[in-house]
């Protein structure tokens, strides 16, 4: 029960401070889930992001569900997921009910512009940190650069990138394995 409440609380804190969607959650997950609590490894976190992008639903929620399941099965998934969505629900409820023209308040705009600059720096630091584990050779470096640029400059859905790379990656490794086997036989 302690772990379930921890899951709820940690994910609520992450949800409450994520500005700009699921990708912006990455630095927070790295700190809380990987570095501090060791609930998942860097590799696992990347795997969850990869699958979370091509399964239906919100990426942030999907990643929370993965980590919750890993730790405590169904209940873990439920508590982590409810945790990550609770701050949103409360904050938006208050704004929708009591504050009109929230997005036009000057201080909100200024604060958010500042936060955006911070989010760029935080995500970039995370990407650099994760690259050591995810980009392991020339092939993965090419995949990284191509996906980053194509996704930024075109409107191709992230789902297509994930599916295409899954097949390419499987193919490359099968060829590699075959070559190695062939080499051994000679």
């Amino acid at each position: 029960m302690k772990l379930l409440l921890d899951l709820f609380y940690i994910f609520a804190r992450i949800g409450g401070f994520t500005f700009g969607g699921g990708y912006a959650m990455l630095p927070m997950l790295q700190k809380e889930i990987v570095d501090k609590r060791k609930w998942a490894t860097q590799d696992e976190l990347m795997d969850y992001y990869a699958i979370g992008q091509c399964t239906p639903g919100i990426i942030a929620v999907n990643v929370a569900t993965f980590i919750g399941t890993k730790l405590k099965g169904f209940w873990g998934a439920l508590f982590a997921t409810l945790g990550v969505i609770t701050p949103s629900i409360i904050i938006i409820m208050i704004i929708a009910a009591f504050v009109s023209g929230f997005q036009d308040i000057e201080a909100v705009t200024h604060a958010f512009n500042g936060i955006r600059a911070a989010v760029v720096a935080l995500i970039l630091s995370s990407v650099i940190k994760l690259s050591k584990k995810s980009i392991v050779d020339k092939i993965t470096a090419v995949i990284f650069v191509l996906v980053a640029l194509l996704s930024f400059f075109t409107d191709i859905s992230p789902v297509l990138f994930i599916i295409a790379v899954a097949f390419i990656s499987l193919g490359i490794n099968m060829i590699k394995a075959k070559k190695m086997k062939g080499g051994e036989e000679k």
Binding site: T65, F66, I92, A97, H110, G114, A117, L122, S157
Partner: protein
């Protein structure tokens, strides 16, 4: 019962929108047309509010739309109920699907085929995150409005934001112990003080 319908409509959005919060947008636009529960103006308000509040954007949008819909039928109390039901409907299918995938993944974790697939996927996933980072950087550092008015590239660059971003990047490298939340709070304060 309107609230059941609200739940199931959002359940379907959650089932079919793949690839992040903004992917729900086309579904919401269609929902507005079909049901008349909320207007296109509500949708544009919703995007502005969702992007300037914390939390996953898709959840923020569902909560806002749920509130508008519920309020339209049963006043403020209905609004609160709607704001609860819509995001729960949206997350329910993902919870079920990811739970199933997650259990399979734990079982096949050590399979060499799974490892072969993830070898490239991790790099692709990181590429998508880098692309999202570029997207935020474009909005944060460059004003499209100012550029369309003056057509002067350098006048449209937001130097204040770039400086803040670089300082925070160096701060993250130097002080590894500091929580990202602290940097976000500092950036918000700097934004208000220096009128970003």
């Amino acid at each position: 019962m309107i609230f059941f319908e609200l739940f199931f409509r959002f359940f379907f959005v959650g089932l079919f929108s793949v690839g992040g919060g903004l992917a729900t947008l086309p579904f919401l636009t269609e929902m507005a047309e079909v049901t008349g529960w909320f207007t296109q103006t509500d949708i544009s308000n919703m995007i502005a509010i969702s992007e300037s509040t914390p939390g996953p954007i898709g959840i923020n949008m569902a909560t806002y739309v749920g509130f508008q819909t519920g309020e339209g039928f049963a006043g403020t109390a209905g609004g609160f109920l709607g704001a609860l039901i819509a995001p729960l409907g949206l997350t329910a299918p993902a919870l079920i699907i990811v739970l199933a995938i997650s259990k399979m993944l734990l079982r096949f974790r050590s399979s060499k085929y799974v490892e072969w697939v993830f070898y490239g996927l991790r790099a692709a996933s990181l590429g998508l995150i880098a692309s999202a980072c570029l997207g935020v950087a474009r909005i944060a550092f460059f004003s499209a409005d100012a550029f369309s008015q003056s057509a002067d590239f350098f006048a449209a660059v937001d130097y204040k934001s770039i400086i803040l971003s670089v300082l925070i990047f160096l701060g993250v490298k130097k002080f590894k112990k500091i929580h990202p939340i602290v940097f976000i709070l500092i950036a918000a304060a700097v934004g208000i003080l220096f009128k970003f």
